[in-house]
Symmetry: C2
Subunit: 756 residues, 2 copies
C-alpha cells in the first residue's frame, strides 16, 4: 500500500526513473533547506506537468484573512501562512527552438535524483529526446549553502547527444508566485523594484500587510554564451544566453541565487549585491566543498548509525537531515514549522510539537543555547499569550494561553475545538522549561525568564479549572486533548494531569527562586503582582484536581465518557475504513474509541517517574489497541514505551513507521510536504526508546535494548558540554567520551565511569 | 435597552420620524410578502444611506459553494442561499434636476411608515426639502397582491409644496443584485434577456448552477408624463417619465411589478405579459380592494384578539401577519424559512422549526391540507435523507437523516457540531407526523406516506445508538441537543428520549398499518425490505436506552456531564456578560451551564403526558434558571410551561418576549431580518399556554388562564373542519362554533357541549 520507489541507501535518498505521478511526492522528499531558507525539489526547467511549487524564507509569513463558515467569538483575524517566496531557481531552456519540458519530451530516460544527505547536496540527471528529435543529457547539482545561508547554487549542465544544438538558457526570478494554501486567492507579494545587469537580476518585493521586504537575486555564469538579453516583466526578471553547443560537449549554466530579507538588512538590494560578491569570491567549487564540510560537522554530532538494516539507517538519517535543514538554532525569532521548508500545510510555524518533540533532539545534538533559544522564543511571546487568554477567553490577571499555532505569538488557528479547547499545549511549554533544566542543569533560565512563563501558565490553569459541587473537585471541562479525535470532552486525563503539574511546578520554582535568586524573585513578583492569597488559590485547584479513573479496570480514563464508547479495538476494524479521518464523518470519528496519537500515554511519557512500570503497561495495553496512529507524532511515543515494556517487535514496527513515515508515505500525503517535527520523535525513539536514555538527578541513564534486526547502533549525546558516544550491539553497550571531565552514567541502573 | 420606536397600535406597525440609524431595522419590520414572494421595506427612491436591499422569490435559491476553514468529511458542497432577486421596486426620482435621496436632503419631516396588518398594505409618507430648495410631500402605498401572487403594486405620489417642479420618474428593474450573505462574492444571476416598450420592461435572468429563470417585470402608469425614455444597461432596464408638476398638485406613478418564474412557467416572459394584462384589467383600485378582502379572510380564521394590552395585541398580530406573509401552504415545494422574506440569514429555508413550532399554527388556522403539505415536503425528500445518512455518516439500509438546513432535501449546513451532531431534528419530523394525526384525525397520511418516513427515522436511531458494555445500555454519544450551547455531548436526554420514542412509535404504526391497511403495509414493507429480525433489533435499542438521571436531584440530566459544570444561575451572572453568545468565546459558552433554548424541557413539552406535573415543575425549576433564552425559539415553550405551572408572571414575561422579540429587538439583530418560525411559537404560547389547549383522544381540551394584564383574549381553532372560537376573560371561558356538528370539548377536564 505504501510507496516504495525510494531506493534503500545508507546516506542518500535516491529515485530512479521518471514518473509524472511521483513528481509532487519527490518534490517534498528531495527538498533542501539551510535553516534560513528552503525549497521543494521543483525542476529548474519548465515543467507543465503536475507540480507543487514552493520556496520559503524562514520567518517571512503572511497573515491570511481567516476563512470560516460561521464566525465564533475569539477566532483570530488571520491565519499566518508560511509564504511561498519568489522563485529564483527557474531556468527556461530552449534547445533547437523547443522548450525543454519533461512533460512534453518524446522520451525521458535514466532519470535519477539523489539527495546526498552526508553532503547536503541534491543531484538530478536525465536523458531526454525532444519532440524535435534532439537528444540531450542533463546533470544538475543544487544546494543551499550552510555557510552563506542567503545563497543557493545550481550547476546545470546539458550535453547534446545526437547533434550540435542551439541552447538558450533563460534563467529568471519570478515574484508572481502564489500559495497553494491561501484562503482568498489574494496576492501576497507586491513588487517594489526590478533591476538587472548582464548577469544579474534583483527583484525586490514586499509582502502585503506584514511588510517583509525580500530581494530575490540571481547571478549567472554561462560558458561560451554568445549574447545576454534581458526581459523584465511585471514581476519577473529573465535573462537569456544563447550557446551553440557541440555534440557530446557539455554546456553549463551556474546560477547563484537566494534572498536577502528586511528581517536582517535595512537595504536588501545592497545586501544582495554584497552576498553575491562574497559568493563569487568564494567560488562555486569552494562553496561546494564548504557545504560538505559544514554538513560533516553537523553529522559529526547528530548522526545515528544503524548496522545491518539499511532502511532503518536511511530513515533515521533522513529525519536528522530534515531537522537540521529546517532549524539550526541560530536565531531565537525562528522556530520549527511542522512542514519545515517542504510544504505549506498547517500554515503557521510553531506548534506544541516544538516543546514536546523537538527540544530533546536539539538539546542533545547541539549546543544548549539552541534549546534555550527555543525557550526564549516563547518567553518573548509571553505578552501575546497573556493577551490571547484575555482577548479570546476573557481571562484576567496575567493568565497566559500560548497559541496553538503561531508565527509571532498571536493565535492563528480557527477551529474552536482546537484554538479554544486544545489548551494542553500550555502544559508542554511549561514542561519544556523543566526538561531543559533537567537535561542541561542550566537553572539560570528560570529566574531570568522561565519563571514568568510558568506563572502565566499556572494562572491560566487556575482560572480555567472549574469547581463541581457535585463531585467536590476541580474539573477541566470542554477540552481537546492530544487525541484530536475527541473534541470538547470533560476532564481529559492528560490535560488535568499536566495542569496540576504546571501549578505544582510553578509554585515550587517560585519558592526555589525566592531562596536562591532573591533579587530575581522580587523583580518578578513585583512585575506579575503575585500574592500569597493567589498562590493559595492555585494550591486549592492543584490539590483538588479530579482525574477520571476506573476502579474496575485500574486505569485513568482518557476522559469522563471514554468507557461509554463502543470499545471495538483497531484490529477488529475493517481495513477499508482506514484511515478513519479520510473515511469517516467527523462525528463518527469523535464518538469512536479510536485515538489519533498518544494521549493518556503522552502523560505517562512526560511523567514516567510518577507511575510504576506496571501502571504504564496496564495503560499501554488498554489504550494502544484503540490507537490508529494517524498523527505523525504517535508512533514515536509508542515506540519508546513499547521498548521500555520489552515489547521489542512493536517498538521496532513503530520505529520504522515514524522513521520512514514520509519516505514510505504511510499517510498518503507526502506530496503536501514532510512531517518535520515528528522527525525529532524518531530520534527520541532510538535514543530514549531503544537506548533508554533518561536524565535523573543530573546523570544520564541508559537501559539499552536493540531490535533483533540490527547488529548495532550508535548515537551521541551532548550532555552538559561533554559529548558521550553510545554504541549498542547485540552483546554490549560501549560508551566513550569527547570531553575533559570523566562522567558517571548509569547503564541499567548501574553506575559506569566514562573516562575523558 | 431594547428599541421602542414602534408605536403601539392594535392593527398597525407604525414608525414616526426619520432616523437613518433605524433604516435597516425598519426594512425588516415593515417587510411585506404574499407567500410567493416578499421584500424588505427598502425605499423605492434612491437611498445612499445604510440599507440592506432584499427581495426574495419563494423556492428560488442558490447553492453557494461551502466556505470552511478546515474541511471535514461529510460537509455539504454548498449552502443553499435564499437568493436576493432582481429589484423591481426601484424608482429614481429627479426633482428640478436633483436626485431625491433621504440621505442627502436638506431636511426630512413628517416621515411615517405604517404597515397595516389588517389590510396587508404598507404606507410611507414624508415631507422633504431638497438641497435645491424644492419642498415636496410624498405618499407611497405598496403591497404584494395575495390574489395575483406574482404581482406587487406601488402607488408613488409627489406633491411640490413651495413651487412648481419638474419631476422625472425613472422606474427600473435591476438584476445586478448581490447577496449580503454570500461566501465568495460571486454573482448569482446571469442576464438572459432585456426588453421594454413605452411603459413596460422585462428582465429575464437565470441563476447560475440551479438555473432558475425569473422574468422580473414592471408596468408603469404615469399621469401627465410628457415623454418616456428607455435606458437599457447590462443588467438594468430603466424608463424615464418627465412631468411638469404644479405647486400643491399631486403627481403619481403607479408601478406594477413582480416575478414570473420557471418553477411555474415554461415561458416566463409570456407569463409576465399575461399577468400584467390581468393586473391592468383588474386595475389598481380593485387590486387594493381585493388585497383587503383577502387579508380579512386570513384574519377571520387566524386572528387572536387581546383586550386591554395593546402591546401584547400588536405583538401577536405581527407574528400571525408575518407567518401568513411567509407561507400560505398552497405549494408543497415550499416551506417556512427562519427569516421568511425579511432577510438572508440562516440561508436555507427549512429547519426543524417547521415541525417543532410551525405545524401546530398552520394546522389550527388553515385547512388541514396545509399541514399535510408540510409533511409531504419531508416525504418527498426522504430519498435525499437516506442518501444524506449514507453519504455523510456511512449509514446503511435506508436509515434516514433529515438535513439540519435544506432547500431541496440536501444538507446545507457545515459545522460538524450541527450538521453531523444536531440529529434530534430527525425526531421532530417523526413527532410532526404523530402530531398531525393527533390533531386532524387524518390517519390516511401514515399508510400513504408517513410510515416510510417513520421507518427511515427509526432505522437511523437504531444504527446511531451504540452499546456501552460498561453501562449495559444503549448510548447516543456525541450529539448537540436543542441547546446549541453544548456541543458533542453524550446522552442528551432530549435526543435519547425522542430516539426511543421514534422507534416505539414507528413499530406501533407498522403494526397498526398491518392490521388496518394491509395492502399499504405489504407495499411499504416490500419497498423498504423490513424484516422481523430488524424490528427486534430496533426494540432492543429502544427498550434499553439509557437516560442520564440524578437520583439526588430527581431530575433527568440534560446530558451526562451537566452536573459537573459550575452551576451559577443566570440571575447571578453579570449583565455585562450578556448575551453570552456575543460576549464569550465558544468554549466558554460550551462549558458554562447556560442553556440557549428549551432542551430537556423541549422533551417535556413534546411528551407532556409521559410526565407528571410535579416532574415538569421540578425540571422547569431546575433548568429555567440556567436558560438564557438566546434563541428565538426559547421563550414560547417556557411561556407554555410556566402557564401550565401557574407561574403566570413568568408566562406573561415570556409571552411578551416571544411576541415582541423583533418589534422590541431583544436580541439586537432585527436589521438582519425577523424571526419568522419562532412566531408560530408565539401563537402556541397563547393557545397552548394561556388557553391550555391540548388534543387528547380526539377531543379538544382547554385549561384557560389569563394574564392579569389582560381583560380578555380570543382565538379560533379549525378542529377537524369545525371552527371553534374561544374567548377567555378574567371571569369565564366562552366557546362558540362555526360548523355543522356539535362538538364536545373539555374545559379544565370537564366536558362542554358546543352547539353548532
Amino acid at each position: 500500500m505504501n510507496q516504495d520507489y525510494i531506493k534503500p541507501d545508507n546516506w542518500s535518498i535516491i529515485e530512479e526513473g521518471f514518473d509524472a505521478e511521483r513528481v509532487k511526492s519527490s518534490e517534498s522528499l528531495f527538498s533542501i533547506g539551510n535553516g534560513a531558507m528552503g525549497q521543494r525539489a521543483n525542476f529548474e526547467e519548465t515543467y507543465t506537468g503536475e507540480t507543487f511549487q514552493g520556496s520559503y524564507i524562514a520567518g517571512v509569513y503572511y497573515p491570511d484573512k481567516t476563512k470560516v463558515g460561521w464566525w465564533k467569538n475569539g477566532y483570530p483575524e488571520y491565519f499566518a501562512k508560511v509564504l511561498n517566496a519568489p522563485n529564483w531557481i527557474g531556468i527556461d531552456i530552449e534547445i533547437n527552438g523547443e522548450n525543454l519540458d519533461l512533460n512534453t519530451c518524446k522520451s525521458v530516460s535514466k532519470f535519477r535524483r539523489e539527495l546526498n544527505m552526508k553532503e547536503g547536496i541534491y543531484y538530478r540527471s536525465f536523458e531526454a529526446i525532444l519532440q524535435n528529435g534532439t537528444e540531450i543529457l542533463v546533470n544538475i547539482t543544487r544546494f543551499l549553502s550552510l555557510d552563506l545561508d542567503e545563497v543557493g547554487v545550481i550547476n546545470y549542465e546539458i550535453t547534446p547527444l545526437n547533434s550540435d544544438a542551439k541552447i538558450v538558457f533563460k534563467p529568471y526570478i519570478d515574484a508572481g508566485v502564489t500559495n497553494e494554501d491561501a484562503n482568498w486567492e489574494e496576492k501576497f507579494w507586491e513588487i517594489q523594484d526590478l533591476q538587472h545587469n548582464d548577469n544579474e537580476a534583483f527583484v525586490t518585493a514586499r509582502t502585503f500587510k506584514t511588510h517583509f521586504v525580500a530581494t530575490t537575486f540571481m547571478h549567472n555564469i554561462v560558458s561560451n554564451a554568445s549574447e545576454s538579453v534581458a526581459n523584465l516583466g511585471k514581476d519577473k526578471a529573465q535573462l537569456s544566453y544563447e550557446i551553440n553547443a557541440k555534440k557530446d560537449e557539455k554546456t553549463t549554466i551556474q546560477k547563484m541565487g537566494g534572498y536577502t530579507v528586511s528581517l536582517n538588512h535595512t537595504d536588501t538590494i545592497a545586501a544582495a549585491k554584497a552576498v553575491i560578491a562574497k559568493a563569487i569570491q568564494i567560488g562555486y567549487k569552494q562553496l561546494l566543498e564548504n557545504q560538505k564540510i559544514a554538513w560533516a560537522k553537523i553529522w559529526e554530532m547528530s548522526d545515528i548509525t544503524i548496522d545491518g538494516d539499511v532502511k532503518a539507517q536511511q530513515g533515521i538519517r533522513f529525519n536528522i537531515f530534515q531537522l537540521n535543514q529546517t532549524y539550526l538554532g541560530k536565531d531565537s525569532r525562528l522556530n520549527i514549522g511542522p512542514k519545515g521548508f517542504t510544504g505549506e500545510k498547517y500554515g503557521g510555524s510553531t506548534y506544541w510539537d516544538t516543546e514536546a518533540y523537538c527540544i530533546p533532539f536539539y538539546m542533545a545534538t547541539k549546543d544548549q543555547k539552541v534549546a534555550r533559544n527555543l525557550l526564549t522564543y516563547r518567553y518573548n511571546q509571553l505578552d501575546k499569550a497573556i493577551e490571547n487568554a484575555e482577548k479570546n477567553l476573557g481571562f484576567k490577571n496575567g493568565a497566559a494561553l500560548y497559541p496553538m499555532v503561531t508565527m509571532n505569538g498571536e493565535e492563528c488557528h480557527n477551529e474552536w475545538e482546537i484554538t479554544h479547547e486544545e489548551i494542553h499545549r500550555n502544559g508542554a511549554i511549561a514542561f519544556a522549561i523543566y526538561n531543559y533544566y533537567r537535561f542541561t542543569g542550566d537553572y539560570s533560565y528560570i529566574p531570568e525568564k522561565g519563571l514568568e512563563v510558568l506563572i502565566g501558565i499556572a494562572r491560566f490553569w487556575h482560572q480555567r479549572a472549574s469547581f463541581s459541587t457535585h463531585k467536590n473537585q476541580y474539573m477541566i471541562l470542554g477540552v481537546t486533548g492530544p487525541n484530536e479525535y475527541e473534541n470538547n470532552v470533560n476532564n481529559n486525563f492528560y490535560t488535568n494531569y499536566i495542569a496540576k503539574w504546571c501549578i505544582d511546578y510553578a509554585a515550587e520554582q517560585i519558592t526555589k527562586v525566592s531562596l536562591e535568586y532573591p533579587s530575581d524573585h522580587k523583580r518578578i513578583i513585583e512585575k506579575v503582582k503575585l500574592s500569597d492569597a493567589e498562590l493559595q488559590a492555585w494550591r486549592k485547584v492543584a490539590d483538588n484536581m479530579y482525574f477520571p479513573y476506573s476502579e474496575e479496570l485500574g486505569i485513568y480514563l482518557q476522559q469522563d465518557g471514554f468507557l461509554d464508547k463502543d470499545l471495538v479495538q483497531v484490529k477488529d476494524l475493517d481495513k477499508s475504513q482506514r484511515p478513519i479521518n479520510q473515511k469517516w464523518s467527523w462525528d463518527r470519528v469523535l464518538r469512536s474509541p479510536y485515538i489519533k496519537q498518544a494521549d493518556t500515554l503522552q502523560g505517562f511519557y512526560f511523567f514516567e517517574d510518577h507511575f510504576t512500570t506496571e501502571q504504564l503497561e496496564k495503560h499501554f495495553d488498554f489504550y494502544e489497541p484503540f490507537t490508529v496512529h494517524e498523527s505523525s507524532l504517535s508512533p514515536c511515543v509508542h515506540s519508546i514505551q513499547a521498548a521500555k515494556l520489552d515489547k521489542m517487535d512493536m517498538a521496532y514496527t513503530f520505529y520504522l513507521r515514524t522513521s520512514r513515515l514520509d519516505l514510505d508515505d504511510y499517510n498518503k500525503e507526502v506530496e503536501e510536504g514532510c512531517h518535520i517535527t515528528s522527525m525529532a520523535g524518531t530520534w527520541m525513539s532510538i535514543v530514549e526508546g531503544f537506548g533508554g536514555m533518561r536524565v535523573k538527578n543530573d546523570a544520564l541513564h541508559f537501559s539499552p535494548k536493540i531490535p533483533k534486526e540490527w547488529q548495532a547502533y550508535s548515537f551521541k549525546i551532548n550532555f552538559r558540554n561533554q559529548i558521550l558516544k553510545v554504541t549498542i550491539t547485540q552483546n554490549d553497550t560501549q560508551l566513550s567520551l569527547e570531553g575533559t571531565t570523566d562522567i558517571t552514567v548509569f547503564v541499567n541502573e548501574k553506575p559506569v565511569l566514562v573516562k575523558s
